[in-house]
Structure formats: C-alpha cells, structure tokens
C-alpha cells in the first residue's frame, strides 16, 4: 500500500512544483476534453432534438443507432478513424493522424452518440403540450427547439457531463489516432498507460490522481449547475 501513498505524495509534489511535463499533459487533456465536448454538443444537440422531437421516417432507427453508439468500443472507433486517416486513405489528405486535431475528432465521434441519445431522451420527457402550445402561439422551429432544450436542461447537462467524462477517461482511440506522443498528443489517461507499462507506478498513480481530481472538479461544477437548474431558475424569457 505504501507505493499508493508515495504516488499520491508525488502527485502533490508534481503539481506544487509546476512540473513542466505534467502541465503539458494536463493542458493537452483539457484541450481534448474541451473541444471534443464542444463539438459533440454542437452536433449532438441538434441531432438529439431531431431524434427526440422530429417526425420523419427513420427516426426510430436513428435513435437505435444513437443508443447503441453510447456503447461504442473506443478502440474500434480509434482503429476506424486511424485507418481513414492513414496516408492514401479517404481522409489521409487531412493530415490528422498523430495530431491533436485527430485525437479531438476521434473523441468527438465517441462523445457524439452520448450527447445525441441523452438529449433525445431528455427532450422527449418535456410535456408535448408545452411545445404544442408554443407552436400555437407562433413559435418558430428554432424557438420550439430552444424551449425544449431549456426545459430539458437537467438531461442536457447530464449529456455534457457524460461527454466530458468520456473525453477525460478515453485511452484507446487517443493512442491509436494520436500515437500517444509525449508533449503533443498524450493525455493524462494515455500517459498513465505508458507509466504503468514502464513499471513507473508512482508516476502513474500521480497522473491518475490528477486526472481523477480534474474529472471530479469539472463534474462537480456541472452537477452543481444541473441541480441548481433542477430546483428551477427564475429567469426571464429568452
């Protein structure tokens, strides 16, 4: 058990002394989490709204795809994205393989079904009478969508937490697409993998502790916002 305690102490030392390598990995991890969550929300919220509220042929199939996408094996997604990004492959000209952008793309693909499926479930729980009433008072499609998202905000924040958590914790796709290059595409989770492989358990525990701390801080912030919303903000019309 002593090496776990040593690992924790090492984590505090690394952070307290502003270890450059650690700060770089933390920055990379935050960039991947931030941008992949933003992109997943940008694509997943409209998709979730369409799947939850839309009336079009194939909606149920789309919902089934999104729901099954929540269980996508990250390694398989990483493999597919990597194969598509290889030089000579259909997306090879984008030169995204072994780059941070490539990692963000792969992570976005993993988070997208989470956001879309959870958003669809959340907006489906909004009373249909409220949305019909908005239409009867002249609301545009965008206004009805905004109302649905606002009323479903607790569920939408849950989707955001899930997307962000996935981005922090993911290893397989990051390694396959990004190459786990230190200082460039290595994230905290993939760095832990490298340290464990090298038998450097102390540093692995230190990195894991930092990762866990980041996830807890950000998830706690979002959860606080979510539960505040659940009690109900008394805001004005938007």
């Amino acid at each position: 058990m002593e090496f776990i305690w040593d690992g924790l102490k090492q984590a505090v030392d690394l952070l307290a002394h502003g270890d450059h390598d650690i700060l770089v990995v933390v920055e990379t991890t935050l960039q991947v989490a931030f941008w992949s969550t933003i992109l997943a929300l940008a694509l997943g919220l409209p998709a979730g709204l369409a799947l939850g509220l839309g009336r079009f042929r194939g909606r149920r199939v789309g919902l089934a795809v999104a729901n099954s996408g929540m269980g996508l094996p990250p390694v398989v997604v990483g493999l597919v994205v990597a194969l598509l990004l290889f030089r000579g492959a259909p997306l090879g000209e984008l030169n995204l393989l072994y780059t941070l952008k490539g990692v963000i793309v792969a992570q976005t693909l993993l988070a997208l079904p989470l956001v879309a499926a959870l958003t669809a479930a959340a907006v489906q729980a909004v009373p249909t009478g409220l949305l019909e009433q908005a239409r009867a008072f002249g609301a545009s499609r965008a206004q009805v969508a905004g109302l649905a998202l606002r009323e479903a905000r607790v569920g939408v924040l849950a989707a955001t937490i899930a997307a962000m958590g996935s981005a922090f914790a993911e290893v397989g796709a990051v390694v396959l697409v990004g190459g786990n290059i230190e200082g460039e595409t290595q994230t905290l989770a993939s760095a832990v993998l490298v340290r464990v492989s090298a038998g450097d358990y102390g540093r692995a525990i230190a990195l894991g502790t930092i990762l866990l701390g980041l996830i807890m801080i950000l998830a706690a912030g979002l959860t606080f916002a979510q539960q505040h919303e659940r009690r109900g903000p008394l805001g004005r019309a938007s």
Binding site: E151, G235, A237
Partner: protein, 314 residues
C-alpha cells in the same frame, strides 16, 4: 392591419377534419367577427377542440376552407407552463409571438393584471395551483393581442368556486372590440357568461347557432334540445313536447296531474321527477318539496314542440 369591429376575422366554410382516418369534424361553417365572443358548445367527443385546432392552423383540413384576417392565437386545453415564473411564461409567449423584448415585461404584467393574476407574476410556475396556472395561461393568450383568440376549455378541471371566479374575470377580460374570440366549453353556464353567440356542436357538425337565449330557449332540433337541458317529454298525437326544468312548476291549481317518481336534493332545492300519462317531466322546487309517490298538479310555462318523426329520427 387590425380588422374593423364587426368584420369577420375568421371564416370557416365546409370544414372537414379527419383524425386517425375518421372524420371528426364534418362540413362545419363558422364565422367570428371582431369584437365578438363566440362560444362553441358540445358534449365530449363532439369535435370542438379539433375544429378549434384546425382554425388555428394546427391540423390539416380534409375539406373546406378557412380564411383568417390577421393573426390567430390558440390557447390549448392543457395550461402547460414552462419551468420559470408566471411573468416569464407570459414574456416567453410574447417572444414567440414576435413582440420586441423592450415591450414584453410591461405587456406581461398588464395581461396578468387584466385577468386578476398580478400577484402571481413572480411565482414559479411549478408552485401554481390548477386555477392559478389557468389564469396565467389565459393571461399569456390575452397578452398577445391577437386579432383572433381561440380558447380551448379555459375552465376545465377546476373546482366550482375557482371556476366561477375565473369565469367572471374572463367574461370581462375577453370583451375587446378589436378581437374576435372563439371559446370552446361544454358547460351551459360558461356559455351564458361569455357568449355573444353560441354554436352547438354535436357529432362533428354545427347543430345550432344563435344568441344564448335563442339556442338555449328555442333549440332547432330535438338533439340540440336534449343537449341544452330539455329533459322533460310529453307525447301529443303528432308531436312531442320537450321541457326544461324551468318550464315546469308544481302548482296545486295546475291543469296536469302527475305522480312523483324521484327526488334529488340540489344546492337550490329539490329536483323532482314526475310521471304523467303522456310522459315525464322534471321540475326544480324549494325544499322540502313533495314526497316520493305523492300526487301533484303541474303547470307548464314553456317548452318546445317537434314533429314526432323528427324526434324518432333523433
């Protein structure tokens, strides 16, 4: 442009609406003018709400035409409010309607005041009672200042005192010379309180139209008579006479002899059912009223007469 008082704002001609493959509204003609409150009355399942939704443009027509001059707003039956304050709900409706942001707060407060809900403005919607939520629902419909306002069962699901309070407030709030108002209800008292004109809808068709006094006092058909409360019936050689309770009085000097067959206490007295050789009648009398099985004399004060074949077809 706002329609002039008296000009038709909504005009439906031969409207047919189908739901689930079945025609729920058939060949309905309806017109509502600016400054007029028209009440659409009918039993459950008559097609009233479907016709209102079609006029609002929320349902497609299977036949006929609907002309609208100006903007039409519909307040649906369920007072579905968003999870925000009452005032913010009204402001949201104004935003959907396209009212500039700067005008919304003032118009929302004014509408809440009009319907007696000023004190609810800052209350979260989830804390409102059923009656309060209906007031806010009505306020946001009034706030829009639509050329035509369609209200679907605005008093549904309320207890009697709450309903009465809201009904009286709504009766004055809905009076506006610029607006055409169509209200769906299924209670005659609500129709009396609100309507300039009543349209009775039965089985998907407009069965009667006119002032409340004419529709309720002189119904054009046995079906409408039955719906508006003509529960007494006397047979004549070639006709049938139908009577409301207020058309029948128990009078010791009355010309007809009858026997009491049922007594039901009511808020105002006793509902007395009597049997005669030619049929049965219902009267409302003060307490204590007659005894069950007692012989009484009856005087008739009104009633409507229909040819027997019309009644039998009904």
């Amino acid at each position: 442009m706002t329609p002039a008082a008296g000009a038709p704002v909504v005009r439906a001609r031969g409207v047919t609406v189908a739901r689930g493959g079945a025609e729920v509204v058939r060949d309905a003609d309806l017109e509502v003018a600016a400054g007029e409150v028209v009440v659409l009355l009918g039993p459950n399942g008559a097609g009233k709400s479907t016709l209102l939704a079609a006029i609002a443009g929320l349902l497609p027509l299977a036949g006929g035409t609907i002309e609208r001059r100006g903007r039409v707003a519909a307040a649906l039956q369920a007072p579905a409010l968003a999870n925000r304050t009452a005032a913010a709900n009204v402001e949201a409706a104004l935003a959907w309607w396209g009212v500039p942001r700067a005008q919304r707060a003032e118009r929302a407060r004014a509408a809440l005041r009009t319907i007696g809900a000023r004190g609810l403005a800052d209350r979260p919607a989830r804390t409102l009672s059923g009656g309060e939520a209906r007031r806010v629902h009505l306020a946001r419909a009034l706030a829009l200042e639509a050329d035509a306002l369609l209200l679907d069962e605005p008093f549904a699901g309320l207890d009697a005192p709450t309903r009465a309070d809201l009904l009286y407030d709504a009766a004055s709030a809905l009076r506006d010379a610029r607006r055409a108002t169509l209200v769906v209800v299924h209670d005659r008292a609500e129709a009396w309180a609100l309507a300039d004109r009543v349209m009775v809808m039965l089985d998907g068709r407009i069965a009667s139209s006119g002032t409340p006094a004419s529709v309720f006092g002189d119904p054009p058909s046995p079906q409408v008579a039955a719906f508006v409360g003509f529960v007494g019936r006397l047979e004549e050689p070639h006709a049938v006479r139908l009577f409301r309770p207020q058309d029948v009085t128990l009078d010791p000097d009355g010309p007809l002899r009858a026997r009491v067959t049922r007594l039901v206490p009511t808020e105002d007295g006793v509902r007395v059912e009597v049997a005669l050789d030619a049929g049965h009648l219902v009267a409302l009398v003060p307490v204590p009223g007659p005894r069950l099985g007692e012989e009484v004399r009856v005087r008739l004060l009104g009633g409507v007469r229909f040819a027997r074949d019309r009644v039998e077809r009904a």
